[in-house]
Every structure is written in C-alpha cells, then in structure tokens.
Amino acid sequence: MTAQSYDAGWLVGLYRRMVLLREFEDRVKLLFLEGSMPGTIHQYQGQEACGVGVCAALEPGDVITSTHRPHGHALARGLTVDEVMGELYGKVTGCCKGKGGSMHVGDLSKGMLPAIAIVGGGLPIAAGMALAYKMGGEKRIAVSFMGDGATNEGIFHEALNMAAIWDLPVLYVVENNLYAASTSVKMTVKTPRISDRAAAYGMRGVTIDGNDVLGVYETTRELAAAARSGKGPTLLELMTYRITGHSRRDPALYQPEEERKAALANEPIGRFGRWLVAENVRTQADLDAIRAEVKAEVQGAVDRAIAAPEPRPEDALEDLFV
C-alpha cells in the first residue's frame, strides 16, 4: 500500500480522528481518576484503528451499534466531542441529554444507536435494523461492534444465524483485544480464530490486523459493498489490543509485560504516523501540531461540558413514552 493511492488530506483526516479518540480517552481517564467526572468508564486506547477504519468505510445512512466501550465508536462515527463529553458529565448538552451516560452514548440521527452495555445485546438489534433496510429495499447496512467476549454469549448464535439465513446487510465486527475484562481469550475460545465461527452459520469469516487503519478501511469497504449488494453478512475479526485497563482504575496486571510492550510498539496511531512520515505525506512536526490542536479541542469540550447546565432532577420523569 502506498500513500499515492489516497488523497493526502483524507489520510491525515484518518490520523487526526484516531488522535482525537486517543486524546479524548486519555483526558477522560485523568478526569475520572481525579474524581471530577461522574460514573464509570470503559476505554478504547489502542483500538482506534478499528472504529476509525470501519466507520471511514460507511455511508451517512448506515448505522452502527456499540458496546460498553463506546466512546471511540461515537467519535469515529461523527458525534461531536461536545456531545460525547457532555454525556459523560451527565449534562443536558450530552447526546442523550444525560439519560445515557458513558455506556450509552449514541444518536440515531448520526448513524449510531445509543450504545448497548449488555455484552452481545446489540447483535440482534443490528440484524433487525438490517432487516428493515432489506424489507424497505434500501441500500443501507448495519454494523455491529462487539468485543471477543460477546462471541461467547448465546445471543451471538441467535443473531448471526438469523443474519445469515436471511442474507441481511449487516457486518459483525469483533474487536479482539485478547481479553474479556481480565480473562484471556485463550481461556474462553477453542478455535484458533474467532472468525472461524462464521462457518457454523454459512457466513463469511475474515480475520485481519485491527491496528492497521488502512487495512481495516479497505476490508470494511469490500465487505460493506458485499452486504449492500445483497451478498449477506460477514463476521470480521480485528486483532487489536487494549493498552489501558478494562474499566475505572484497572491496572491490567493480567496483561503480561512482554505482551504489553509489544502491543505498545504496535499501537495504531504510532504505526500510522510513522507510515505517513515515511511516505512523505506529513512531517513529524505536522503530526505533532495535529496532536496539539486535538488536545486543545478536547480541553475546550471539557470546559464546555463542565460549564453546561445540569438537567433538572425531575427531567428523570421524561422520555419514557412517546
């Protein structure tokens, strides 16, 4: 792959988006640890190429479902930093007006269902959205993100089977970061690759490097086109690594030091940045400037979220029924 195949501005846009996800999460981690942010957090550091690469290949009319670890998916799909940060602070400016919180960020009008924090819960819903597209003759697709842990839930079987028998326009994207919370995937999955399970449903299964943002983009584009043209769903496994804890203050002591070191050397933003410099798309100084801009953007969102109005307590009674 050479940079000449792509528009330079678009490549830098991908880089900037990944940096945004990283800076957002790093800032949120500090805010959480200092105790100024309410709730709990499940973070995305290290997996940025998955969300950004997949979402870069989607059309505006497509929809994604996400998980308890959704901040990156929301920012990759195009929710604003203010909407996501506001939601984490429980403010009325949040994408769910403070009713959702960290684990439920999303906005259907922007192509993302409020994230679903029950592991595997979004899988049949994505199939249902795809069924609606198919029944309506629309060329839209649904993308359902999940972790490796979700592939051991019973609902994984029900959802993928239905998606396959009806040739639904849906992509099931497994971000295999090797750990379901603290439990290694080696202890919970017998097949060499999670994508091997696709064969049980008569579905395509593909495993690729999830830390290569361009590779993720290209593969997703191909599989999305197949889904869009009636060729049915795919189980796409992206091999990646979470370079932060599972949640809250988790120091991730279950990740062996050597494995972690290798993962840090392979993390997607550094990798893509080095490639952009080697391909003469941008200089390291340009990339440093982007990071500084993004940092300022995130800080601005933090300041605005803190200043934003709290919901009225009795707003808790609204939004149950139409």
């Binding site: 929809v63 949040g94 994408c95 769910c96 007006k97 403070g98 009713k99 959702g100 439920h104 999303g106 906005d107 259907l108 009008s109 269902l113 409020p114 679903i116 029950i118 819960g121 899988l123 049949p124 819903i125 994505a126 199939a127 249902g128 959205m129 795809a130 069924l131 609606a132 597209y133 029944m135 309506g136 649904a142 019973g154 609902i155 029900e158 959802a159 089977n161 239905m162 028998i165 609204e318 939004d319 149950l320 029924f321 139409v322």
Partner: protein, 340 residues
C-alpha cells in the same frame, strides 16, 4: 352489522387490518406464515401469509434474537408485531425485552422511537410448570413497556389496533383458555370469550378499564380468565343477596386507577383475583396503592384470591387447587363480607 368472533379470530382480523392500513406493520415470530402450518401456537396469524407473504417473518427458535430483531426494525421505523409461542419463553428473551426494548427510548434521551408490539400467551392450562405462567408480575414493575390484558374478543382486537398505532413498546398477554382457537390447535377447558365484532373500524383505548358488572357491596378486580370466573361468582352471590361489581382493567400499564378508586369509593370493599402466585403480584400493588391513597374508604381489609407461591402443578386436581375457581372466588368475597 357484526359477526361473532373468538379472541384468536378477532386478533387475526385486527392484525390483517393494520397490515393493510400501514405497510410498515409486519409479524415476526416462530411457526408463523407457514402454508399448511398453524399460524403461531394458537392460530392467531393463521393464513395471513396468503395476503402478506413478505411481511410474515418466520424465525428460528430464538426468542431473544427475534425480540432483538423486532426492536432493530422498530428503531428504523417499521412496526413489528413480535410474538412468542408461550409467555414463559419471554424469560429466554429477557435481556432484549427488559434491557433493550424497554429502555432504549429513555436511554436515548427520547430520541429513539420503539413502535413495537409483543404478544405472549399465558394461563395455567394442563401443561405443567413451564408453559403455564402468568407473566404479568414480572413485567408490570418494568418501566418502558405498556401492558395489555384483554379478556374479550372485542377488546383483544381493539387493543391490538391501538397497540400497533401507539408508537411505544406494548406487550399484550393473551389467555390460552380464552382464545377460542379452532381445529387441531383448539384447547380443552376453554371459556367463551367471543364478542360481536362490528364490521367497521374501531379501537379500544390503552389505559382504560371497564366495569363488567355493576354492584354495590364489593368490588372485584380480575383479568383474563379470572375476570370471567369473577363474573360467574358474582352471579352466584347475587342469589345470596351480595351485590358484586366486577372490574376488568384491560390495561395493567398504564392502570386505570380512577375507575378502580371510583368503584371502591362506592363499595368500600375490594377483592383482587389472580391466577399467579400471591407474592408480589397485581393484588399486592393494588392493595398498597389503595392503602396509600384511600384507606379511609375501606370498610374491611383487602382480600387477595390468588395462586399459591409454587410453580404451576400438572395433575388436574392439583391444578384446580392452584388456580382460583369460581367457588374459591365466591368464598373470598363471602369472607370479606363477613368481616364488615
């Protein structure tokens, strides 16, 4: 003009009318839309595939999956009518129904819409413990789903049509002994719940109960089969000089508290009849609410006639003991009258 229809036929007619009216309405469930099949476990969707072949989505045996699929379609503007073959199977679908369907609109801050109908047969009907439960007590405490309990064919059709048009998740519990299912899927021990169904269009409003029999001495509340048995008990007690008012709530969520309170303000006495175990049931909720809000109107304690706190037994004599019979309901009412 009108025709005499049972609940299964009336529901079928209501579903067909809504599917004709709105191309977004579709059915999704197990063993539906199969030529030569049954139309679901109790014939409600029998034959609809002839007119709506592409809108009868027959699923694998996957209750959680099918409820999730229905939810996804609803979020995209479709109007699914999703059914399970027995209410008991809703436990298999519990994450989708309780965590996803019920909460999606709220969690989204009101931005996501879930115009979705769910249907589930209930009733203790000679099948042992796992095809027998009254599921209402598990769902009434769950915010985000409206719950309907029709006991007549007229209400079943009218409420179903209201549910399809409501725009929110609505769960309809239908009683197996009241369906009036015909042919190879007919039931033994059924009760006639048929109605004269008008030829013209009508709906029954969600959240409105109805007085099935007027009386002055005691108010009796019951749904489904228990409503019919309460009417029988009321008839028997009238010969003893006890005037019983029978209320059929028709909706459990929202509940027509005004109707009930107006009745109890008149009779000053209340009996709640339940086919489900007494612990944590509808009677508990009604009794607590009336104790909070109008205890001074009560001339005697509230009486609950309910199933015991066990699973439903199979053997017919044990089942008859388990489910309140007309005699047990009458006994409960007499006991209450003796207290005051």
């Amino acid at each position: 003009m009108s025709r005499r229809l049972g609940i299964a036929e009336a529901l079928r007619e209501g579903i067909a009318e809504e599917m004709r009216r709105d191309p977004k309405v579709f059915c999704i469930g197990e063993d539906i839309g199969i030529p030569g099949g049954w139309g679901g476990a109790f014939t409600v969707t029998y034959g609809l595939e002839k007119e709506f072949a592409s809108r009868m989505v027959n699923t694998p045996i996957a209750e959680a999956g099918l409820m999730g699929v229905a939810l996804g379609a609803a979020l995209m503007g479709m109007r699914p009518i999703a059914d399970v073959q027995y209410g008991d199977f809703l436990f298999c679908a519990m994450d989708q129904v309780a965590n996803q369907v019920a909460k999606m609109r709220y969690m989204s801050g009101g931005k996501a819409q879930v115009p979705m109908v769910m249907r589930a047969p209930v009733g203790v009907t000679g099948r042992g413990a796992q095809h027998a439960q009254m599921m209402e007590p598990f769902f009434v405490p769950l915010p985000g789903i409206k719950i309907l309990v029709p006991s007549t064919a007229y209400d079943a059709k009218g409420l179903l049509k209201s549910a399809v048009r409501d725009g929110n998740p609505v769960l309809i519990f239908e009683h197996k002994l009241l369906y009036g299912s015909k042919g190879p899927r007919s039931e033994s021990g059924t009760v006639d719940a048929s109605s004269d169904i008008p030829d013209g269009e009508y709906t029954v409003p969600i959240g409105k109960g109805i007085v099935r029999r007027e009386g002055t001495d005691v108010t009796v509340v019951g749904t489904h089969l228990m409503m019919h048995r309460s009417l029988e008990a009321a008839q028997a007690l009238s010969k003893e000089g006890i005037s019983v008012e029978v209320i059929d709530p028709r909706s459990l969520v929202p509940f027509d508290w005004e109707l009930l309170k107006t009745s109890v303000a008149k009779t000053n006495r209340l009996v709640v009849v339940e086919e489900s175990p007494k612990r944590g049931g509808l009677g508990a909720e009604i009794a607590a609410t009336l104790a909070e809000e109008m205890i001074d109107s009560l001339a005697a304690p509230i009486v609950r006639v309910a199933a015991p706190n066990t699973p439903a037994p199979f053997s017919p004599p044990m089942e008859r003991f388990y489910v309140p019979q007309v005699s047990r309901i009458a006994e409960g009412i007499r006991g209450l009258m003796a207290m005051s």
